[in-house]
Symmetry: C2
Subunit: 334 residues, 2 copies
Amino acid sequence: MSTIEQVALLAKVSVATVSRVVNNSAYVSETTRDRVEQAIKKLNYQPNALGKLLRKETTSMVLVLLHSVDNPFFATIVQGIEKVAHENDYNVLICNTYGDTEREQHYLKMLRNHLVDGVVFISNTCTSDEVNYLNATFPVVQVVEYLTDIDAAHYSIDFYQAGRDLMDILYKNGHRSIGFIHTGSTEIVSSKEKFRAYKDYMKERRLPLITNYPDECLFGYANAKKIAGDLLDKHPKTTAFFATSDLLACGVIDELNCRGKSVPKDAMVVGFDNTSYAYVGKPNITSVELNSFQLGAMAMEYLMSKIKNKPVAHNNKCLIPYQIIERESTKKGQ
Amino acid sequence: MSTIEQVALLAKVSVATVSRVVNNSAYVSETTRDRVEQAIKKLNYQPNALGKLLRKETTSMVLVLLHSVDNPFFATIVQGIEKVAHENDYNVLICNTYGDTEREQHYLKMLRNHLVDGVVFISNTCTSDEVNYLNATFPVVQVVEYLTDIDAAHYSIDFYQAGRDLMDILYKNGHRSIGFIHTGSTEIVSSKEKFRAYKDYMKERRLPLITNYPDECLFGYANAKKIAGDLLDKHPKTTAFFATSDLLACGVIDELNCRGKSVPKDAMVVGFDNTSYAYVGKPNITSVELNSFQLGAMAMEYLMSKIKNKPVAHNNKCLIPYQIIERESTKKGQ
DNA sequence: ACGGGCGATGTAATCGATTACATTCTAAAG
DNA sequence: CTTTAGAATGTAATCGATTACATCGCCCGT
């Protein structure tokens, strides 16, 4: 790799002039410019970003921290983030933390070291104090998942109300024995709020809770299937399930099918997030559309304002409208 | 943010001594070390990585370039990459290129600028020359998708043979009118090889091709459904489909269902990649397991060897065994 | 008492850029 | 013919670290 000095030497000019040519930052005569550009081409010179970043304060890059990209739901948020980032000539680096604080700290070091200009938390594992501290010093925003008791901005939806809306659908279809199925972390706001909605809804109607929550299990389809089986063993009369994601709902439906029960005739099921899992199978699944692309875009807009020190366009603790998408899994008379 | 100089000032030592304390790199007396550590704590000093990187040659970070994380199949590869990376105290930055060369170049600049130590291409859009050039200068590896005519290493499977194996299943189940359905890029090796397998297999048996290939369409479920519909309109007697991914297979099955045909009784369908789409729906889908976690891990092992200048453990143009997973979508008598 | 060895620390060059300031040159204005 | 504005370029400080080399004590052996 060649340096600016080598180019300067070859073109018989000073490094300052080369820098001016590269950055188009001041008067350079035609002939000199030509000579420098020739030298650049000849040496295949690429400016070293480190030298540049050491002087400049911006990197045109932001970090996105999430649990793991294996959840297709996150991909949509990232797309929203990227759309706005690209409009602002920013690039996005995605990092899986797998809920590991140490790993997260490793990536956050990039923020502290000015290797990136800001960070979007899709889910985070660090403490409120930590986020507060970061937020005081750097551009930070939370999207979808968030810590409530802190200063940092967040863009999300009202998971509690959405949960109640789903419960309403099941209840109004006549169901009284409703199970709640969750796998994965219980430490995130979405899990807590969905469960609170379920619990409140059932308690208000003096109905018994049928759930594994808050027992943590590994993520995924197979676990949901197993839990559904366990609950059905204990409570055979359960006729409806609130699964906290679409993939889990698929597992529940599979278990019901295995027991000779068909959805929605013998039991109804709802999911969450309106991912492709909600519509690729039969029956397709009633779910909640979070408008996650929009959420990602809004969060990134906020972050860009922070980075560029411009006034923030919208409220920085924002819950946007969601939509309940009713599908076959809760349709009567099928 | 405080600098090493401020710490040195407060601790009444030189920057060299502070650096020694921070890096534990040479003799420092107990008392001096204490004083420096106190100063570090007091100022909440965090070494600026840029200064460091400018001198040192490694960053402990690698780049992963892919089309977009919205394909859950990629997530498994990334997990394999990350497993090996973490074992070597390396961190992984994931970047969506959306098949955009310019964006890809932006990220590759990080490699050229020594902001990362190496790059894993899961899919790439740049030319063979470009990859060759990068490969000559930096640690580079390709996984799953790859360019054939270049020096860079790759880890993948034999898509051609896997495609023929799938065709065999359909053929041996008596099918003669077999459609081939693909959406997304036709420029990648997996697409080309799958189609070549289909084409060869059919031609060898003097059967007519039934396909949209190589017409490019947008990704996804809805397009696959539409193409299946088109093919069925033109060739109503088609009784089997080779879809190039599991998600597409879901779309095909949905279209068949919409036309009152049931899978596998009236038509058989195969997918590819053995993603969760292959087993969450009914019927679940015969697919090909690539062992993508292992592929990711192997690629990263190669890259680590390159980065650390150690001999490479396994052949660097490697096609590992795959498995055909037969499921309901190709089971006779159901 | 003197020199050797080494522990402890400081000085300053260096990495590759940017950029304020200085300098030189040219051409138009007076 | 001088003056002078401003175009064109160079010089050198700077960003924040690392590290080779220099230096300074101090203890120990003879």
